[in-house]
């Protein structure tokens, strides 16, 4: 059982005077940083505003990979999530200005002078939960690729990010205490599958393992407060992967509810995320012993893709409810029978997965013809086929079908409701029904036509006493029964939308003469 976190970028255990520069009239103090447990060394001030610095921000810049690190990251190449918790000193009096005045700010600096070239996010104030008194540690969760910053100071270069900072604007709300905050260890998570700094679940695991890894069991092994649990609900503000592709995994969420943050929503301005930040991956070994079961509820605040496009011996069951995320791609390892209500315009993309009984509020793409039979699926948007071929929909409800294959699509419709066929080049074929005529006079001729036409769909020249044809693919037929010794019969518009059996009585024709 494991939730594997990468090595933190900065433990903040060094003296806060070891930095990449600062902003404001600031005394950063001489004490080492506030790595957890906070309670054991609560006086470790690394960021303090001037006592009379109302309206003027102040803060210390630290290198991305350590207090004085000069390592650089290119945020245009990959979304990376900078994540840590911090706690204000004197939690009964957070001497911060309000949000509108940028009481609490996040700075992301670039180049050799990051404290002169940075972008600025207003992330909280005494009027938001971020600076609420007695709140305990609060989360700083910033995608370095995010562009929702409030200001840009100097010449910020997104390809050369070298430092980050927490800035504050002190306001004397009550008392005269200095505003200070203590940093926990900071992570910089990568967001692409298999990348080195992506959190992963391995072994026999569930979401409690993630809580254990971050919250620990006591102050001795607690490393943060950004991943939380309440009842059976988990708040998980990071990208992660089920499996690392090499290690065994047997994951079961046990029906948990999992929430991922939205970006910059009201009272959650401390989450600044692109749609790439909170991506989730399935990365199991090619081993039938590996499995992932997600039967719970997943509510994603950003349209981050879920890449479950894995086609291996290992298995994944998605029977839960999935809401708000981006494109959700599923391979043949996956059985998806749950409900998917993705972000607007995002689609479930099926690459050979078993999607029988799936419910999709929105669009569904069928991206291969390795699976051609679908049953009991519900799609409120468009179901698109990108590979030419013949498919069977059994007892499905689909609002619209589309064809992006460039070839011909044939849909065998077995009891399904397809509201709109947008095409192009899609033929919907009803399943064959069986027509049975009983009580015939032997040697009668039977002809079955598409109703109202002369298109023959079945027939026999000389019948027995029963005629059966199991190939009727039209909903309505005309039936001619002819024997010169009996009166001609024509049955018009017989309903063959389902199997039909008709008893026939032929009346002797007294007016026929064979000479």
């Amino acid at each position: 059982m494991a939730f594997n976190l990468p090595t933190p970028q900065n433990l903040h255990t060094a003296d806060a005077t070891s930095n990449r520069g600062f902003v404001g009239n600031l005394n950063p103090g001489i004490k080492v940083g506030g790595n957890l447990p906070i309670s054991t060394d609560g006086a470790e001030v690394i960021n303090r505003t001037a006592s009379d610095a109302t309206g003027n921000p102040a803060g210390v810049f630290f290198g991305m990979d350590g207090n004085t690190s000069t390592n650089s990251y290119d945020s245009t190449q990959e979304a990376r999530v900078l994540l840590w918790s911090l706690q204000y000193n004197a939690p009964n009096r957070i001497q911060s200005s309000n949000l509108a005045n940028g009481g609490s700010r996040f700075w992301l600096g670039s180049g050799s002078s990051p404290n002169q070239n940075y972008k600025e996010f207003f992330i909280g104030g005494h009027d938001t939960p971020f600076c609420a008194s007695q709140a305990g540690p609060v989360t700083m969760c910033i995608d370095i690729s995010d562009t929702s910053n409030d200001n840009t100071i100097g010449a910020f270069d997104p390809t050369d990010i070298t430092a980050y900072a927490h800035g504050s604007v002190r306001t004397n709300i009550v008392g005269t205490q200095t505003l200070s905050s203590f940093f926990q260890r900071a992570f910089l998570f990568t967001t692409t599958k298999g990348s080195s700094n992506l959190p992963t679940f391995t072994g026999v695991s569930n979401f409690d393992d993630a809580i254990l890894a971050v919250q620990g069991t006591s102050y001795t092994n607690k490393i943060g407060a950004w991943l939380t649990k309440s009842g059976s609900s988990f708040f998980v503000p990071c990208p992660f992967s089920f499996g690392d592709g090499n290690t065994a995994i047997t994951f079961n969420d046990n029906g948990a509810s999992v929430v991922s943050p939205a970006s910059n929503s009201q009272n959650q301005e401390n989450f600044r995320l692109t749609n790439d930040a909170m991506r989730i991956y399935l990365d199991m070994r090619n081993n039938a012993a590996d499995s992932v079961v997600l039967s719970g509820s997943y509510a994603w605040g950003t349209a981050a893709d879920w890449d479950f496009n894995q086609s291996r011996l290992s298995t994944c069951l998605l029977s839960g409810n999935f809401t708000g995320m981006g494109d959700f791609k599923i391979g043949s390892s996956v059985t998806a029978s749950g409900s998917f209500n993705l972000s607007t315009g995002k689609r479930v993309k099926c690459n050979g997965a078993n999607i029988n009984s799936i419910t999709v509020t929105g669009g569904l793409n069928i991206e291969t013809n390795t699976v051609t039979s679908f049953s009991n699926i519900s799609v409120t948007g468009a179901m698109d086929f990108d590979t030419a071929g013949t498919y069977t929909l059994t007892n499905c409800t689909v609002n619209e079908i589309t064809n992006s294959s460039g070839g011909a699509i044939i849909i065998n419709n077995s009891g399904s409701t397809i509201t709109t066929n947008t095409g192009p080049n899609i033929t919907i074929v009803l399943p064959p029904k069986t027509l049975t005529l009983t009580g015939l006079q032997a040697n009668s001729e039977v002809r079955v036509y598409t109703a109202g036409t002369t298109t023959e769909v079945a027939g026999v020249e000389n019948s027995g006493t029963t005629f059966t044809d199991a190939t009727i693919v039209v909903n309505s037929v005309d039936i001619v029964i002819h024997n010169v010794f009996y009166e001609y019969q024509k049955i018009e518009a017989a309903d063959t939308s389902s199997d039909l059996t008709l008893p026939i009585q032929q009346r002797f024709d007294r007016n026929y003469s064979n000479v």
């Binding site: 001729e445 002809r447 002819h482 024509k490 024709d509 026929y512 064979n514 000479v515």
Partner: protein
């Protein structure tokens, strides 16, 4: 006389020549045999009929034949000049529309002899009676 000629595509029943024709044999029965050929069952019904039921005493209800002109069928005169006699109770299903058509360039005079009798006497001929024909038709089913 020869039987009428049926054209399902144009819905014509063509009288092949001048002379005498029986509605039951040369029109109605000929149509039933024509329907059994090829894919002719796909065409609209050309005739329906009533009567022929035995009332005992060697008598039966006089048969009536209705040509389905309401479905488009017409009886066309031969490409000959002369007299045609059609015997039998032949009526158009739709009395308001014409049943017979002349062939252009020929003058054929048609005389339709209908019976006013409600019953007719079954006439034994060398051919099968309707009853006998019906019994014969049952034989294949018994084999």
């Amino acid at each position: 006389m020869s039987d009428a000629i049926f054209d399902g595509d144009s819905l014509y029943i063509t009288i092949p020549s001048t002379g005498n024709f029986g509605v039951g044999k040369n029109f109605y029965s000929a149509w039933k045999e024509w329907v059994a050929l090829s894919d002719n069952a796909k065409y609209p019904l050309a005739f329906d009929t009533t009567g022929g039921d035995s009332v005992g005493g060697g008598q039966e209800i006089a048969p009536y034949y209705f040509c389905r002109n309401d479905l488009g069928w017409r009886i066309k005169m031969p490409s000959q000049d002369g007299e045609i006699t059609v015997t039998g109770n032949l009526f158009p299903r739709d009395p308001s529309s014409s049943l017979f058509e002349q062939t252009s360039g020929f003058d054929a005079f048609l005389r339709l002899e209908v019976s006013t009798r409600a019953v007719v006497v079954e006439v034994e001929t060398g051919a099968l009676t309707a009853t006998q024909a019906g019994q014969l038709a049952l034989i294949p089913a018994l084999l």
